[in-house]
């Protein structure tokens, strides 16, 4: 499938069909504006979207790193806490020896020392390989308690070290135990192959260690055991975290696992999971993503502001440029239209002119026959005047009179054909030296009958100092005929039309044609030389006469202006250069 841009542009930006419809320029403006704005806004939205995406991603990375760092720290603290206890127990064993520790006094001494070092130690006990608490020191009565069937005892017997879950146990207080196994030196007795030394620690110390990490209001941090039971106080969970069991068991040592979860169907939160070494515990953090925090909102708000400002700027520029562009198109289009009409009009006139010329030429031949035949009749009358009878003389006189009127009529026909040819329109301006007065008189000669019929008085003023002028006679006559014809339409029967011709200076002449008709409204004066502008009744005027006159005068290097108002009549003034450089013709 090929991408045919022209087709798509035509389909969605229908400039051609718009131009030819009424009210098209306004619609074209709307189309272009919508098109450009749509494209710009789409691109801006893409930028906005990508920026937001990038920002959210960046903030997520940032949050993740922060969470990882804090979890790592907390884990280290927890491990350090456990390790110090284990080291102390090992140190005790090496200093006192196993047998000495069985002695209650020694054990008490040890507990005091441990409590001095770490305040959170609750009690201490020695259990033999049969699982019986042989020696105990602490606030409770535990001596003789049996642990053989307890899970922790089994594990410590196998692994050597055991850190228990948090449990209530006999004491009904949350606590957890750390136990290490030590082999007895020398020969082994039954039930006395090894000893376990166990200390119990207040579980609230764990909470204290975890509290260092909690950052925000909605965040949570706690420990769960290997089967997902919450070990330290949590804001969100109590007891078993069944839904997270699979996640908890999937955590590998030393690897932080981050998940996005909806906690209790609320907002999405980041859940971090990390195993604590030597224990069955998993550290869990629940953190609010930073996308919702202030900085992200601020950044997005700024981005939105930039977006709105950009859209406004694009909107303004687009509207202004479209206005200019469409105006250009309109002007070019109108000019083309005007030129087309002028061409059409002039070719029509040229055709009519050619036709008129042909008719005029052809009519001359029959006119010649009429003229010569009538002439011959006159000749006969002349010859026979002396020889005819007196009775016949009046008839002869009538003959002569009639043939003379035929000859005269032919003469008039000849004048008409001559004038007709003089008005054959030429497309190019052809300059010649002419007498303005004669040229105007010729035009008036053409209109004499109409003047008489309409009873219009024509006043002519020719300045005696008027020199000859270099111009196109035919075109000038066309302009003057046009203006006088308009004046005919404007004046009532019995009106007055005044034609004055005078030189303005050494270079220009002024022809003014004034009438005392109904005048032209000021708003009409503004448009009077525009093509197709007419104030005449429908079908009476084409609205082209004055527009063509205007372009002709302009072509001849002159100007045409009008001075008029309602009820005051109108005065058309044509200023023409007296000497036109005939270089154009000479070149041709």
């Amino acid at each position: 499938m090929s991408l045919d841009f022209k087709y798509w542009i035509k389909k969605y930006l229908p400039i051609d069909s718009v131009i030819n419809a009424p009210g098209h320029y306004r619609r074209l403006k709307i189309y272009i504006n919508l098109f450009v704005i749509f494209i710009s806004v789409v691109f801006l939205l893409i930028i906005l979207f990508v920026s937001k995406l990038w920002l959210m991603n960046f903030l997520k990375q940032e949050t993740d790193n922060m969470i990882k760092w804090q979890m790592e720290n907390t884990k280290n603290n927890l491990e350090y806490f456990i390790n110090t206890k284990l080291s102390s127990l090992k140190f005790m064993l090496s200093v006192y020896g196993i047998e000495a520790l069985k002695d209650k006094n020694t054990l008490s001494k040890c507990l005091i020392n441990l409590q001095k070092e770490f305040g959170e130690i609750v009690d201490i006990g020695i259990i033999d390989s049969n699982g019986i608490m042989v020696t105990y020191d602490g606030p409770y009565k535990m001596e003789g308690n049996k642990y053989l069937d307890h899970e922790w005892f089994k594990q410590v017997a196998v692994q050597g070290v055991f850190i228990s879950d948090v449990f209530m146990g006999f004491r009904k207080l949350p606590h957890f135990a750390i136990a290490i196994k030590t082999e007895k030196p020398g020969p082994k007795e039954i039930g006395n192959e090894f000893l376990v030394i166990r200390i119990t620690i207040d579980a609230s110390t764990l909470s204290k260690l975890l509290k260092n990490m909690t950052v925000n209001e909605g965040d949570d941090v706690f420990l769960v055991n290997g089967v997902g039971v919450v070990q330290t106080p949590s804001k969100m969970f109590t007891g078993l975290m069944d839904s997270y069991l699979s996640d908890v068991s999937a955590v590998i040592d030393n690897n932080i696992k981050l998940l996005s979860k909806n906690i209790h169907s609320g907002k999405e939160k980041i859940v971090g999971l990390l195993k604590i070494k030597n224990t069955l515990w998993t550290l869990i953090t629940i953190t609010e993503p930073k996308g919702d925090i202030f900085i992200a909102k601020l950044f997005l708000r700024e981005l939105l502001a930039i977006f709105i400002i950009s859209v406004l700027i694009i909107l303004t520029i687009t509207i202004v440029i479209t206005q200019i562009l469409v105006n250009w198109i309109r002007i070019a289009h109108e000019e083309r239209e005007r030129a087309m009409v002028e061409i059409e009009h002039s070719s029509k006139l040229a055709a009519i002119g050619k036709l008129a010329a042909g008719v005029a030429h052809e009519i001359n031949n029959p006119l010649s026959i009429i003229s010569q035949s009538a002439g011959l009749i006159t000749d006969f009358v002349e010859i026979n005047r002396e020889v005819v009878d007196d009775d016949f003389k009046p008839v002869l006189g009538k003959f002569e009179q009639l043939s003379n009127s035929i000859v005269n009529a032919v003469g008039r026909c000849h004048t008409i054909t001559h004038r007709l040819l003089g008005f054959v329109r030429r497309v190019d301006v052809k300059y010649e030296l002419i007498n303005l007065k004669d040229a105007i008189k010729e035009v008036i000669g053409f209109l004499e009958k109409e003047l008489l019929y309409k009873n219009i008085q024509l006043v002519e003023n020719y300045d005696a100092a008027l020199p000859s002028i270099v111009t196109d006679k035919g075109l000038l006559q066309q302009v003057i005929l046009n203006i006088i014809n308009n004046a005919f339409d404007a004046v009532e029967k019995g009106g007055i039309i005044e034609i004055s011709v005078k030189p303005i200076d050494e270079e220009k002449a002024l022809i003014s044609i004034r009438d005392n008709g109904h005048g032209i409204k000021p708003e009409q004066v503004k448009n009077i030389f525009e093509p197709f502008y007419t104030t005449k009744a429908k079908g009476k005027g084409t609205g082209l006469g004055l527009s063509i006159s205007h372009s002709i005068v302009k072509k001849m290097g002159g100007t045409i202006t009008v001075d008029s108002d309602i009820g005051r009549g109108a005065c058309f003034m044509i200023e023409l250069p007296l000497k036109k450089e005939i270089t154009v013709n000479a070149e041709q």
Binding site: A360, N364, S368, Q372, G375, T417, H418
Partner: protein
Amino acid sequence: MLNNKTEEQIRVLLVDDEESFGSVLVERLRLRGYEADYVYSAVGAIESVKNTPYDVILLDLKMPGLDGISVFEKIKAINPAIEIIIISGRLDVDNVNKEVIDSAFDYLVKPLNINEVIHKITHAYKKRYHS
């Protein structure tokens, strides 16, 4: 009489394809004392010039058959002394071959005024014999 007959008989040949025009004009010329003949074709014109020593020829340039310009040139070839006055129905005589116009004595535009015709013939005759 229409005017005094000239002492010398001026021989005029009218060449025009429009018979009703030519026959009338030639009669009017005869009435005025000219030894005038009329032919309506190019071939006839050339024959007549060969046979008769005309003084002046009135020649219509627009004719069927041979065009007026060829007739003009042929006549001048046969008898260069003959003065030719061109008559034409067209008003734009300027558009006709300029050389023809220059070598013709003058031209007249239809419809003709008889006095003007007489005037031109007289002048052409005078030019031929007195210049």
